[in-house]
Symmetry: C2
Subunit: 421 residues, 2 copies
């Protein structure tokens, strides 16, 4: 197949899962570690149902060991009988935690342990042979209960590559479903991600899940690049909420993926629910949707410069890689400013159902730009200028045919014009 | 040199400019195309001075052709005599625009023209031979005036690669200072960026500037990857403001770069001014700093889960790739919640200057987690629990030595305890 979409999967990535990725949403686990998150069971149920409706493949929940209430919540969410999303819980690589987790009704267990020298020294203080022994014990136990099991290293990018390959090949051999690779501190960059994931992919047969923090702004790009290298599962949170400034945001990641494979993404996820889902979570954790959020930021589909507006009016693809209609949203041509162009104003004239020649529209555009130099303009300002201009033009034409009638209309029009400038 | 920083420059990228990049800040050009931007001259001067103080290498301004006021503003900013930043203006590839631009006092001119089939068809309607002819005429004219000149294609990633290589090699031969590669629609991803930039780098001797929009959340990662491939200049805006949801944000890009080369970044840019610069621009364009903004988001250095808090207390590098002190900020251990751990509470006990054994701290931690299951906790709640517990412990000890004195103190303490729960 010829590569017609320059943003699509790269045919040279034969291990790529760009066109068959799955989502593990962690809003109810990583997201609970967000500074502002205090989730009641009622809130958790609302979020879980909305995620299921949107179509995420898995929902990850806080460890039932965290507190008595956390355990009760995991059990309650498992009993909801969600239609589409499987339920996971995220626990330390301890038999104590695993025994509690398998009793809650989850479909699978995500275990993790830190393997970087930082975490081995300052967090749990265990060496690699101890880590390997615990991993085998926990994995075999969870599998014996018939549940899915993922084994993840924390801070994978600062871990010794030999340690990583040893532990991943070991757990792969004993039949783990997925291994997880985590950029716990948010410092990884895309080509580094590609190299590590491709190397690991070459030595294991199980699936690969990834978890990218966003401290240095690369979480979405790292997740995409991980898919190119053969990872299949991406951890996301609604609005990216999590420890510090969070992880891969679900909405932003959808923006990335719909560009790469529109058919797959649109067939699998209800994209027009993104705004509702984000508003739900934003309300609960009491934050505003960031002004520059992909897709749902207030200006994500607003075009302002004259040169952009002109081309967008001719064909939206010129300055839009995302179609707002795919998300149940619409575009907006911001024509009321000094950077406007006559094409944008012509479009507004047509929306107002008025008839003016191109030269007349250019004349109005000059007036609008002059006013825009002096102060911020609203749509009503521009409309008023257009309507007054149109009225004057009509008057002049009427004057030519009927001088008397035109004179009567003049005073009202003039007054209106003054008030608008 | 051994690679000691896994997030640093990749030694195999021999063309990499990760350790010698320069910034072209476009807050006063691309940023002016942000939906909410209405900059007066006074605001522009404030922003320009703050950018100069921070240390950006270039400041790009809106075309003087946009309006009469725009031209007056370019002239006024050129007269400021900034210490560090050179001034550029961004114009269409037209002799008409170029003649006006060179008279304003700028240090250089950034010209652009659309080369994608979308833009050639729906924007300017010109073919490649016309584009080449205009480019040569404009470049030779600007150079004859002794100014720097950059030639950029718009929407480079949807342009024909043969067209791109032809035009870039042509303008390189006639001595352009920089060529610009732009992801105008924000759809590019990192490995695609790496391949295109490296290919272009192999056929030109001039410097390469890049301009990445953020529609699919990859702008920072794309900019970083462009440097790896040999680009040298990165366009940024404060908070990333620009058309739609904007471009590479200056602060987020600094987060990315300080991880890659801390010495270079800290020696060149005043990182502790980022917050002030972002607040200035946010106030002017009337937006809030996004809750999840790199570096300056309200929780960028907040640690919540017990396991994170414990390790951070032992060594901040365990869960921090950025040091808040580099940006004049401080970290915060969020201990007042049900995910807390006893290490975080122990640290709080020490901050309060109280003495308790580890077992006693664990007992308090259980109480705090139980209360955190019921409702959101404030610091004062936790402090109150700790202080009451400490008071009780002291009472018990005092009772052992002096039964009478302890009895007198009891009623007040009990009352205080009830009110805090």
């Amino acid at each position: 197949m010829a590569q017609t979409n320059p943003y699509g999967p790269n045919p040279s990535d034969y291990l790529s899962n760009v066109s068959k990725f799955e989502l593990i949403d962690s809003t109810l686990r990583e997201g609970e570690q967000f500074a502002n998150a205090f989730f009641t069971l009622e809130m958790k149920i609302k979020i879980a149902k909305a995620l299921d409706d949107f179509g995420v493949d898995y929902i990850e929940l806080t460890s039932p060991v965290a507190s008595d209430q956390a355990r009760a919540e995991v059990e309650a969410i498992c009993k909801l009988g969600l239609k589409r999303s499987k339920i996971l819980t995220h626990i330390r690589c301890h038999m104590h935690d695993a025994k509690i987790a398998v009793e809650t009704g989850v479909d699978g267990v995500n275990v993790f342990i830190g393997t970087s020298s930082f975490l081995r020294q300052h967090s749990h203080g265990k060496d690699m042979s101890f880590i390997t022994k615990s991993a085998i014990e926990v994995i075999e136990f969870v599998k014996s209960k018939g549940l899915e099991i993922r084994f993840s290293t924390e801070d994978s990018f600062r871990s010794d590559i030999v340690d990583l390959l040893n532990i991943y090949t070991t757990v792969d051999k004993i039949g783990v479903n997925r291994i997880g690779i985590a950029d716990t501190v948010g410092g990884a960059h895309p080509r580094q991600v590609y190299e590590l994931i491709r190397t690991i992919k070459s030595v294991v047969s199980c699936d690969i899940e990834t978890h990218f923090h966003n401290d240095t702004g690369c979480a979405i790009a790292n997740a995409y690049t991980a898919l190119e290298a053969g990872a299949k599962y991406i951890d996301t949170c609604v609005l990216g909420i999590g420890e510090r400034n969070g992880i891969v945001p679900l909405g932003g990641f959808m923006a990335r993926m719909i560009v790469a494979d529109p058919d797959y993404v649109k067939s699998k996820y209800k994209l027009h629910k993104i705004r509702e889902l984000e508003n739900l979570v934003a309300d609960i954790v009491q934050v505003n949707i960031p002004f520059n959020n992909p897709i749902t930021g207030f200006c994500a589909f607003t075009h302002k410069a004259g040169i952009h507006a002109k081309a967008i009016l001719a064909n939206p693809s010129t300055y839009e890689i995302l179609d707002p209609a795919d998300f149940g949203l619409s575009r907006y041509i911001h024509f009321a400013n000094r950077l406007t162009g006559w094409n944008a104003i012509k479009s507004r004239v047509e929306q107002l159902n008025l008839k003016l020649s191109d030269d007349q529209v250019k004349e109005i555009t000059t007036k609008i730009k002059q006013m825009g130099d002096v102060r911020p303009l609203g749509i009503e300002d521009v409309d008023s200028i257009i309507k007054n201009f149109h009225a004057e033009v009509q008057e002049e034409e009427e004057e030519k045919t009927d001088a008397t009638a035109a004179t009567e209309e003049e005073p009202a029009t003039k007054k209106q014009k003054v008030s608008s400038e």
